[in-house]
Amino acid sequence: MSANAQTLEQLIGHEYKQGFVTDVETDFFPPGLNEGTIRALSAIKKEPEFMLEWRLAAYRHWLTMKSPEWAHVSFPPIDYQAISYYSAPKTQADGPKSLDELDPELLETYKKLGIPLAEQERLAGVAVDAVFDSVSVATTFKEKLAEAGVIFCSFSDAVQEHPDLVRQYLGTVVPYTDNFFAVLNSAVFSDGSFVFIPKGVRCPMELSTYFRINAANTGQFERTLIIAEDDAHVSYLEGCTAPMRDENQLHAAVVELIALDRAEIKYSTVQNWYPGDKEGKGGIYNFVTKRGACRGVRSKISWTQVETGSAITWKYPGCILQGDHSVGEFYSVAVTNNYQQADTGTKMIHIGKNTSSTIISKGISAGHAQNSYRGLVKILKGAENARNYTQCDSLLIGDRCGAHTFPYVVVKQPTARVEHEASTSKISEDQLFFCQQRGLSMEDAVSMIVNGFCKEVFKELPMEFAVEAQALLGISLEGSVG
């Protein structure tokens, strides 16, 4: 390997800047999982009966299941009895609090993460739901959103305050019998965000949830449910970080989106979980089920994800295109470095007529990382004139990493049109030298080239988040030269 390629590799070795631990008093369950754990969890959250029954049904189903092994990732078996299923800052133990009552340590934590919760500090007018370990600690702009008829609150609050809505939609996209990790989540989920946009309402601001794992040996199992009624619009962003720890931690979330007639949901994720150290020790296992249902005619669901974190990422945000003329989109940038493993992609299920989907996936691998795209495009018999366009590009940095593409296409309708394009490239030394010859440092050159590679995805992110994502990529690729 040439000198330039070596410096490039060193460069990619980045420091994780969100790896600190917040010192707060917590209430937590001792490790272990049984029916008693679930009953205790449901009780602590003062849940109605239907919720407990649902959890228990999921748990009983889970006991009959085996951990999936088909993904292109490898990890030692997880001991589900060694995980604590509930951890919450003490001050939060009973019910929602206003920001003034929030533990200053927590406020400080979010400030350090670049998410000032105090509303007056927000210039951008983005409402934030902050989830710390197992509970939502704060939701901003609640009142302002309520004026527009928008419900944006923690999942726990939604179960208390809007049980009928929760009952009507929960599990209708990702049923409690879905897959191993989704089923586990259904049994033990602790909190998450809930969004309801009523008929004809365009959500007046961007909504976002910020997930933070803090406690050791806990799993984070959050659940997000977003419902957009007829002609409703919403743009939602999710961000995540965790402290640096030597043990792996499990994050098994479920996100369900429901778009009714002509509704539009844009869901963007900037995921920056702790990826583990350079030797591959520690880091988050991110096994997530995200699915959206375009139930209504001309509805649209768009997933955009920028993934730089996790030791292992296993997620396939997908769309079920039921409504005629409905549209599903998936834009993804996945960066893996050192010993990170990512098996990610999407599922587009075309059911309605004239449905269309677009998949743009950009995978970047460096170090010893393995990056796989796995995508399913399924066109059912009734989906006349369905269209799909898929583009998968991989960028390799160094020669010990790998990129893999697993596209699955199932077409049962002859009028359907499915296109697939794929490419694999390397950052060439010619490109790097060219940039340096124009005065750019190696760091800036790499970051510029990588950002260029990801451009089609970044332009789908909401403005403020695009800037954040670019900065994050910058950090991921930062290091000392030579």
Partner: protein, 252 residues
Amino acid sequence: MLRIENLHVSVEGKPILKGIDLNVKAGEVHAIMGPNGSGKSTLAHVLAGRPGYEVTAGRVWYQGKDLLAMAPEERAREGLFLAFQYPVEIPGVSNIYLLKAALNAIRKHHGLNELDAMDFLATVKDKTRLLDMDEQFLYRAVNEGFSGGEKKRNEILQMAVLEPKLAILDETDSGLDIDALKIVAQGINALRSEKRAFILVTHYQRLLNYIKPDRVHVLAHGSIAKSGDAGLALELEKQGYGWVEQLADAGA
């Protein structure tokens, strides 16, 4: 401005440059000619600091500093510019973004503020007009899908915006049509000044009709076989490289 003393360079153990001496003063234009494979691009790359070349002997002074000790980006920021023989494509990065990043990196190095967005745009648009380029090139990805001639012109656009002190143009004239050659030559001439020097690597006398060189050097088998004034280029045009190569062989 630039003084090369007895420069020897090897690539993967194979000697390519075998003792180059060259002195370029501010305000001068030097042409370097010579047959394919004689080491012209190698010399240009070594001066710009491209990795992969091993300097086995010799020194290079640039503005009184040891050029070979400087990192490639530092050389660029100190005003050394290389127009590439084969410009690379950078997908997804717009020309204007690259220009801005490059210009700001150079300005920062000299303790200047970033250029105001409006001023920058005005300057860049000015230069595109000078080179008779459509403004839309600014918003296209760097060299992506550009024709051979457009890529060359794009290199000159970058030079015009970055205003280097020493510009090394590696066969910028190759691949240009007659009109484009004139425009590019005009662009170069517009930049000529007392404080700036040019090294033009070329195979053709044609370019030198538009840009009159102070010195012409013929590189053969890794060393300068002959130097002369503008007349030497004319002579080469008539007689080919054979006789100078013989000179080089005799000298070696």
